[in-house]
């Protein structure tokens, strides 16, 4: 009876309780396996309370399912490793260059280029996005309509198309832009629209009472925006803005298309030069995982510090 009650309570507490023992073990395990299991459960994250605490039969079935799934996962890993080994991709010689300083230095320089593209486009797109959001929220149709059209259109055009248009269109007009800006401008143009949407949904997620109170105090539209609405909206959209930065960083990989030497393009060059194509791409993928996971963790931390921003903030387009 007791475990059932405990389960019921935790199911209600659900999200709040966070991680907790999902599958009560048949008997108290000794310290080390228990710690390993606790770690695994932390990794597995909270469940959605879709199942009762299993009885003896359920526990047996879960144990069988666990064993079978472990075997399948192990087989998958083995198949991949085998395929790599069979084609000589696991030779130490194929990987050794990634421990040499010149290569590391080369990749770090490329990472810095990636970060520079991300930062510069973010710094330009963020204020313009805010202005665009304000224009779209204004009462003047003359401002509202162009802003709305810009946001909707730019969010519906693939970034690659825009980059090709810049790459091939600008020389046609007699304009010669450095490689860096050929990558940055298209990223800025699309992300301004995305940032504007994030800001706008942040403003709209605020309780109406805030605006009404400000108006009741006799503040004008712009003063209300400046003193009451925006400071709160920016606070609430902070996590969504950081998540969008992750997407900005992903967008910078399109440097590959314009031959700007950022991280992905560096991997391509390195792979072709050393005949370590798979290794170079894998190493770079790992770097992206590390950097983006750190950024995502920052977003999570900010969200917790702000006491949970509204989940509606940002009609996030994934990717």
């Amino acid at each position: 009876m007791t475990p059932l009650l405990a389960k019921g309570q935790s199911a209600v507490a659900g999200e709040v309780a966070g991680d907790r023992g999902t599958i009560p073990g048949p008997r108290p395990a000794s310290a080390a396996p228990r710690r390993a299991k606790a770690l695994l459960e932390r990794l597995a994250g909270p469940d959605e309370g879709l199942f009762d605490p299993p009885g003896p039969r359920g526990r047996r079935r879960i144990a069988v399912a666990s064993a079978v799934s472990l075997v399948i996962l192990a087989a998958l890993v083995w198949a991949v490793v085998h395929q790599f080994a069979a084609h000589g991709q696991l030779h130490a010689g194929q990987w050794r260059i990634f421990g040499q300083w010149p290569v590391i230095h080369y990749l770090l320089t490329a990472l810095w280029a990636t970060v520079r593209v991300t930062l510069v486009s973010g710094v330009i797109a963020l204020p313009f996005g805010a202005l665009l959001a304000l224009a779209r929220l204004s009462h003047t149709p003359l401002l509202r309509w162009p802003a709305a059209v810009y946001v909707e259109v730019l969010r519906a055009i693939p970034l690659l198309l825009l980059i090709y248009a810049f790459l091939l269109g600008l020389p046609n007009l007699g304009l010669h832009v450095p490689l860096f800006w050929q990558l940055v401008w298209p990223i800025v143009f699309t992300n301004t629209a995305v940032f504007a949407e994030i800001f706008r949904s942040g403003v709209r997620a605020l309780p109406r009472g805030q605006t009404e109170a400000a108006q009741a105090l006799g503040l004008s539209h712009w003063t209300t925006m400046r003193l009451v609405v925006l400071p709160q909206a920016i606070r609430q959209t902070a996590p969504a803005l950081i998540s969008q930065t992750v997407r900005l960083l992903k967008d910078s990989t399109l440097g590959y298309v314009v031959s700007f030497l950022e991280l992905l393009n560096a991997a391509k060059v390195l792979g072709e030069y050393d005949h370590t194509v798979v290794q170079a791409y894998l190493v770079v993928a790992l770097v992206y995982v590390v950097v983006n996971t750190a950024l995502a963790a920052t977003a999570g931390g900010v969200e917790r510090r702000l006491g949970g921003a509204p989940s509606s903030a940002g009609r996030k387009s994934p990717g």
Partner: protein
């Protein structure tokens, strides 16, 4: 303008290939994403850990990195099949992680009382999922899934960057290199993408209104 009219067939076939790639990617992502989501809400610990790590890892890899890894990496380890399908595989694996998140958000949107009531009636994990949770979750995921479909369609253009030039963006680039009319060609392609995105959004809105349940 004559250029566009003369080459309307090029745009048509480009759009068709783009739609094909997007549709295949979306179906693959939906199947894999559903499997990942089931893993993640199941009581089987190894599956849950695997699903969490997969989603977390794949979401932080840029799509283009995954595409280059598959398109140029797979032949190196002896796996060779058609370029278009290699791109679809990579994109399907990528979007599966996002689809899993959409599904999980849908499951989370089902009120807890529903799940508890199902359990109180003695339904097992599979039954609860099939009879109570999924029918309700399906309604709330229409809009996010449509946003995902739009994102898949727009990002299918990245296939052109790794050599699948038959699709719309690739065709547009080739056409432009031939005729050097960037404003016209890219404008027409942009119009096609915007139309598709608006149409999918409108369709999802209509479907959502039709199936919505007021709570």
């Amino acid at each position: 303008m004559g250029l566009i009219v003369d080459h309307i067939g090029v745009f048509g076939s480009g759009l068709r290939v783009s739609a094909e790639i997007s549709a295949c990617t979306f179906v693959l992502a939906a199947l894999l994403g559903a499997a990942l989501a089931v893993c993640q809400i199941s009581p089987v610990l190894p599956l849950r850990v695997f699903s969490r790590l997969y989603v977390g890892g794949v979401r932080s890899i840029p799509l283009l990195v995954l595409l280059t890894l598959f398109v140029f990496g797979l032949p190196e380890i002896g796996v060779v099949y058609s370029l278009q399908w290699t791109a679809v595989t990579a994109m399907g694996l990528y979007w599966a992680a996002f689809f899993c998140e959409v599904l999980r958000a849908g499951v989370r949107a089902v009120p807890r009382g529903q799940i508890e009531a199902a359990r109180a009636l003695g339904l097992g994990f599979g039954q609860t999922l099939r009879l109570v949770v999924l029918p309700q979750a399906a309604r709330s995921i229409i809009q996010p899934a449509a946003s995902l479909l739009i994102a898949v369609t727009l990002n299918s253009s990245l296939a052109a960057a790794v050599g699948v030039t038959q699709e719309l963006t690739g065709q547009t680039e080739l056409l432009d290199q031939q005729y050097a009319q960037p404003l016209l060609t890219f404008g027409a392609a942009a119009l096609a993408y915007v139309t598709v995105a608006l149409w999918v959004g409108w369709l999802a809105g209509a479907l959502d209104r039709k199936l919505a349940v007021s709570r």
